[in-house]
């Protein structure tokens, strides 16, 4: 909303600068976006002049050489190009050095050999209109040399204000003036709607036209008046300047008046040409479903039944307007006055007023104690009453309660006690609210659910050199196809693009996109992770509960932790880079699972976007926690990445659920020594390390407290088709030192178990 300050001051002038008025409004809830200065620079350079003599330029047909009295001793010579300049006119003159509205500075110039010292002004040259067909001719009477600013509004300040949607009343100059009045208590000028024009004639408006509201739900009230003998022409300078400064183009007196009234009081209104209203009848009704109509801007639009159409007796026509929502009360006395004054019109007596359900004023009460309880401070009762009075609420103090009547312009916004509290608080000044802390009964500040674990896991990956990314939760259906994942997806109905039309069921596409982006920018080797939600359907979205969902969630959302490694460690002058292969990434996953402290295992095989021979499923008991593996070469090709690239993704919520509430308890490892033994096991190539470990554990029984695979050997000493695994075994009994015999016995049992899987101990 653009509010010209001179216009605002015509209703409320608190003796403050434009900046100070802006501060007052900002702190009352109407925020200044920008303060504009419009019109000319220093107004002292603009004076009234009288054309003493106007003669054709000797060398130019279209120029006139004028002698202009500017109040100084000698007349000044000004070459003027306007066709309407003539001797005897009182005109507006810019002196050399004047700064024009566009910021340019007027100099002295020779025009076809004649020196011109100044400029006779057209209205567009001082920003009070758009007309450039001729110079402005002022009314006689103004003294040559007197300030032009006394005659014309050539310079102004404009407040560009941000009006919140609850304050349509402040979308008007008078409404803003009321706010200034409420805060500063400076007097507020009379309601511009209060003054009415004198009707003339014996007929009545209802003789000329009628108005029907077909659906009172969509239009509360529609009022009309009839004018005859309207003379259409340009508006006067003051009106044009106000419209221009407020951001409206002047068009003609009738249109300008309707716009001016709307800018003044916020009431939308429209001038209908009665000769073109078929049947002289205006009908306001709901649009039919998909009804089409050509609007005033010449565009054919389609409407739905939420829109009110203004039609005439024969239906929608070019006279039609559209009304966004409800129309309330019309207060258009200004129009009446202006129409009569500026268009020489005759106001036909009477008002056509379709107002099917007259609204009653709303009564709202404010308990002073309640206000103090909400604000945390008390406000003097006289001030409360004063504020509400200046805002138009007609407050009446009754004991500890203030009873009010909400004015029509605040009816939609102020309906309850809390709304009145806000009114008083914002005008009183939020800067006067004290600063305290709440009691915080039973308050425990903490992370909840999986958050503490997630933080530790994210830190662990960060500390191992991974960069955290944040990628969009949307992905392209095509990306999921390239990952060969199928299954139900959650689609957005109104995506910004097809690329962002599906909610991702896993983090991998975002990690791959980020890896590709960085590879394209010269960073092919890196390690990334993301910790975020993933989304799967949980039943049909169309079967949403009709009432409150009572805590239900519309989709199956989980929180995943995913990592992608294209290079595990960089190379240097004496070391090679560590590739982002399965085992490098497995080390990261082991750290994550180790921190969580869950009993986990990997099982061969994983989702289809992984290398089928280098893929594993992460399990804990029967629960599936996620996957780990090198990416399938065809997937890598789609993302322009080079093998090996490995990744893992785990369900952080499931992981946290396994650890929640578990507390580590002390194990005695110092009182009795353990026995460490290294063994080498030769097994056929196809037997996995996990199978060997399982056999060793089966043979070792309870006394075997730990097994670690620490070496792998293939070669001559074990023969083709076999491999040798080196394992470190730790034997321990909780209550005694183990004897050699006991350990030997266990080793024999381990050998027997290994034999079952085709393995043997190597000497």
């Amino acid at each position: 909303m653009r509010v010209p300050v001179s216009w605002l001051r015509s209703y409320c002038a608190p003796g403050l600068s434009a900046e100070e008025i802006a501060d007052v409004l900002t702190m009352a809830g109407i925020k200044l976006e920008r303060l504009h200065r419009v019109g000319v620079g220093d107004p002292a350079q603009f004076v009234v002049g009288r054309v003493l003599k106007a003669e054709p330029h000797p060398d130019a047909d279209r120029l006139t050489v004028c002698e202009v009295d500017d109040g100084s001793a000698a007349p000044r010579t000004i070459v003027c190009g306007a066709p309407n300049v003539a001797g005897g006119q009182t005109v507006a003159v810019a002196l050399p050095g004047a700064v024009m509205p566009d910021g340019s500075k007027l100099g002295e110039a020779k025009l076809r050999g004649v020196k011109s010292s100044g400029m006779i002004l057209a209205e567009d040259e001082v920003g009070i209109g758009e007309d450039h067909t001729g110079i402005m001719v002022l009314e006689n009477g103004a003294e040559p040399g007197s300030p032009l600013a006394d005659q014309l509004p050539i310079a102004d300040e404009v407040l560009e204000l941000e009006i919140t949607p609850n304050r349509p009343d402040a979308m008007a100059v008078y409404g803003v003036a009321r706010e200034v009045h409420a805060v500063t208590a400076a007097p507020l000028g009379d309601d511009p709607g209060a003054e009415d024009a004198e009707p003339a004639g014996d007929d009545s408006a209802e003789d000329h036209a009628s108005v029907e509201i077909a659906d009172p739900e969509i239009c509360l009230r529609f009022s009309a008046r009839v004018y005859e003998d309207v003379e259409i022409g340009p508006s006067p300078a003051w009106l044009k300047q106000r419209l221009m400064a407020a951001g409206q183009r002047p068009i003609s007196n009738v249109v300008d008046i309707t716009n001016y009234v709307m800018l003044t009081v916020g009431q939308p209104l429209h001038a209908f040409d009665l000769d073109r209203v078929r049947g002289s009848r205006i009908v306001v009704r709901r649009a039919e479903p998909r009804e089409k109509m050509r609007t005033l801007d010449g565009v054919e639009r389609e409407f739905d039944p939420d829109t009110a159409l203004v039609c005439d007796a024969e239906g929608p026509s070019e006279i039609g307007g559209i009304m966004g929502g409800e129309i309330s009360e019309v207060s258009d006395a200004t129009t009446r006055v202006l129409m009569v004054e500026l268009c020489g019109a005759r106001l036909v007596p009477g008002t056509i007023d379709a107002y099917p359900r007259a609204a009653e004023s709303r009564k709202v009460s404010l308990r002073l104690a309640r206000m103090e309880q909400l604000l945390g401070t008390s406000i003097d009762t006289d001030e409360v009453v004063g504020i509400l009075g200046r805002l138009g609420f007609q407050p009446v103090l009754s004991g500890e309660t203030v009873d009010t009547t909400a004015p029509p312009w605040r009816d939609s916004d102020v309906q309850r006690e809390a709304d009145l509290v806000e009114e008083v608080a914002r005008v009183h000044g939020l800067d006067k609210i004290p600063t305290t802390l709440p009691a915080r009964r039973n308050a425990v500040g903490r992370l909840a659910g999986s958050q503490p674990l997630r933080r530790r896991l994210e830190d662990a990956l960060r500390d191992r050199g991974l960069h955290e990314i944040v990628s969009y939760s949307f992905t392209a259906p095509e990306a999921l196809e390239r990952l060969r994942t199928d299954g139900e997806q959650l689609r957005v109905r109104n995506p910004l693009s097809e690329e962002q039309s599906v909610l991702r069921p896993l983090l991998l596409p975002g990690l791959l996109d980020a890896a590709r982006h960085n590879a394209a920018h010269g960073r092919a080797g890196l390690a990334l992770f993301e910790s975020a939600h993933v989304y799967l359907p949980a039943g049909s979205l169309d079967e949403a509960p009709s009432g409150p969902p009572a805590g239900a969630r519309p989709a199956a959302e989980g929180h995943h932790l995913g990592a992608l490694v294209t290079e595990a460690a960089p190379g240097g002058w004496r070391s090679n880079p560590v590739a982002g292969d399965f085992y490098a990434t497995r080390a990261l996953l082991e750290a994550v699972l180790g921190i969580a402290g869950v009993d986990w295992r990997l099982e061969p095989g994983g989702p289809p976007f992984l290398h089928p021979g280098r893929a594993a499923t992460v399990k804990a008991g029967e629960a599936e926690l996620g996957w780990l593996g090198e990416l399938h070469p065809l997937v890598l090709r789609e993302w322009e990445l080079h093998a090996p690239v490995s990744a893992f993704e785990i369900d952080a919520e499931a992981l946290a659920a396994l650890t929640l509430g578990s507390v580590a308890t002390y194990h005695d490892v110092t009182s009795v020594p353990s026995v460490l033994q290294d063994i080498a096991v030769v097994v056929p190539d196809e037997v996995s390390a996990a199978e060997v470990e399982r056999a060793v554990r089966a043979g070792g029984g309870e006394l075997l407290s730990d097994v670690q695979v620490f070496d792998l050997y293939r070669g001559e000493q074990v023969g083709q088709g076999s491999k040798s695994l080196a394992l470190r075994l730790e034997f321990r009994a909780p209550d005694r030192t183990l004897t050699d015999d006991e350990v030997t016995e266990r080793r024999a049992a381990i050998e027997r178990e290994l034999d079952q899987i085709g393995g043997s101990l190597r000497a």
């Binding site: 900002t26 702190m27 009352a28 925020k31 919140t164 309880q373 604000l375 309850r416 809390a418 509290v421 806000e422 914002r426 939020l430 800067d431 609210i433 004290p434 600063t435 305290t436 709440p438 915080r440 009964r441 308050a443 425990v444 500040g445 903490r446 909840a448 659910g449 994210e458 990956l461 960060r462 050199g465 960069h467 955290e468 944040v470 990628s471 939760s473 959650l490 109905r493 109104n494 909610l503 996109d513 960073r523 890196l526 990334l528 910790s531 939600h533 989304y535 979205l541 949403a544 509960p545 969902p549 009572a550 969630r553 519309p554 989709a555 460690a569 190379g571 240097g572 002058w573 070391s575």
Partner: protein, 350 residues
């Protein structure tokens, strides 16, 4: 008895001339070994007449001790110089680069700021809770006092999955969910992703992060809201930060307030020297969040969970995490935070 003086001077000269520890060992055997002249002499003292034994033994022992001390001193000297020589040979080019370290990892700037916020509010007694991003219109709008015709519900402002299911446009739906789950008093903050169909530009992206706050008890006031936000702002932006409440409008708070903090870049002056401050654009204040007293209509939706609007009251606030990250760390373009370019990621969150 040998001539002890001669023996001593001869041995001392030899020890002084020795050039290696091997030579010294040889000399030790020659002059102090079992078969050495001096050892023999000491051993044969018993054969002397008793009155001569004392002086002879004393003299011989003096020589022995002197030679032992000199040998030891000389051994140390030689070992030291041998070590120096060896160390000189072991010299390396210390100007070559070290082994490449594992690259320093980084949290994303959004995570870093989110954690900073969470930690400040944890210190103030707020629990951190999270909620779903795929949400019902009921929680995102209806229970937050948005009438059915509210413009924010339009598909131009909200991503929809079905008529009733949408991507949450703010973290506020967790206000109602949390109150359904927990009776008052309640003190929570809710970080998370939110979504709006904004065409990306320097200040808009379709997905960003917010942190919501909610405090409900019998006696929580607007003054308490100001107090909590002052604590937060000082924790986030520095001890000298001031907070300014300005009236605002949100459907689910009444009174509603916009919250500005004094500009941490120019100290609230609006100018740095004669230059207009870029961070606050010369205003001295920066708008960082929206808040207010929870609207009685919102409490009405959970009245049966103990939130009778006549008995309990409180405040709520919500702020954009990216906005604060960008202001504090001077990131010029919101889109950069979602490109995941390592050159940006490396600058924050180590």
């Amino acid at each position: 008895m040998p001539d002890l003086d001669q023996l001593r001077s001869e041995a001392e000269a030899a020890i002084a001339a020795a050039g290696s520890s091997a030579e010294l060992e040889e000399l030790r055997v020659r002059y102090l070994g079992r078969k050495a002249e001096l050892t023999q002499a000491l051993r044969s003292i018993v054969e002397l007449p008793p009155q001569e034994r004392g002086p002879a033994g004393k003299a011989a022992n003096q020589v022995k001790q002197a030679l032992e001390a000199m040998l030891e001193r000389r051994t140390e000297e030689l070992e030291a110089s041998e070590l120096d020589r060896k160390l000189a040979e072991d010299r390396i080019d210390v100007t070559l680069p070290g082994d490449p370290p594992r690259p320093l990892g980084h949290l994303h700037l959004v995570s870093q700021i989110r954690r900073e916020m969470e930690d400040i509010f944890i210190g103030l007694g707020f629990a951190v809770v999270e909620g779903p991003e795929v949400e019902y219109g009921y929680y995102n709008f209806t229970a937050l006092n948005h009438p059915p015709e509210h413009p924010a519900r339009q598909p131009g402002d909200t991503f929809y999955l079905s008529d009733e299911v949408l991507l949450r446009t703010h973290t506020s739906p967790m206000q109602v969910r949390a109150m359904e789950e927990q009776e008052p008093p309640i003190y929570i903050v809710v970080p998370g992703r939110v979504y709006r169909p904004d065409t990306p530009d320097a200040t808009h992206v379709p997905m960003f992060h917010q942190l919501e706050g909610l405090a409900i008890d019998e006696d929580i006031t607007l003054a308490d809201l100001q107090g909590v936000l002052v604590q937060f702002a000082r924790g986030m932006f520095g001890e000298d930060t001031e907070v300014r409440l300005r009236p605002g409008y949100f459907p689910f708070t009444e009174p509603s307030v916009e919250v500005d903090v004094s500009c941490f870049n120019c100290g609230g002056k609006g100018f740095i020297g004669s230059e207009r401050c870029h961070t606050c654009k010369g205003e001295g204040w920066i708008e960082i969040l929206g808040s207010g007293m929870v609207d009685p209509n919102v409490l009405g939706y959970v009245a049966d969970r103990g939130y009778d609007p006549d008995k309990v009251q409180g405040f709520a606030f919500g702020m954009g995490i990216e906005r604060i990250a960008m202001l504090k760390h001077r990131v010029p373009d919101l889109r950069m935070l979602f490109e995941n370019d390592v050159r940006l990621l490396e600058q924050f969150g180590a």
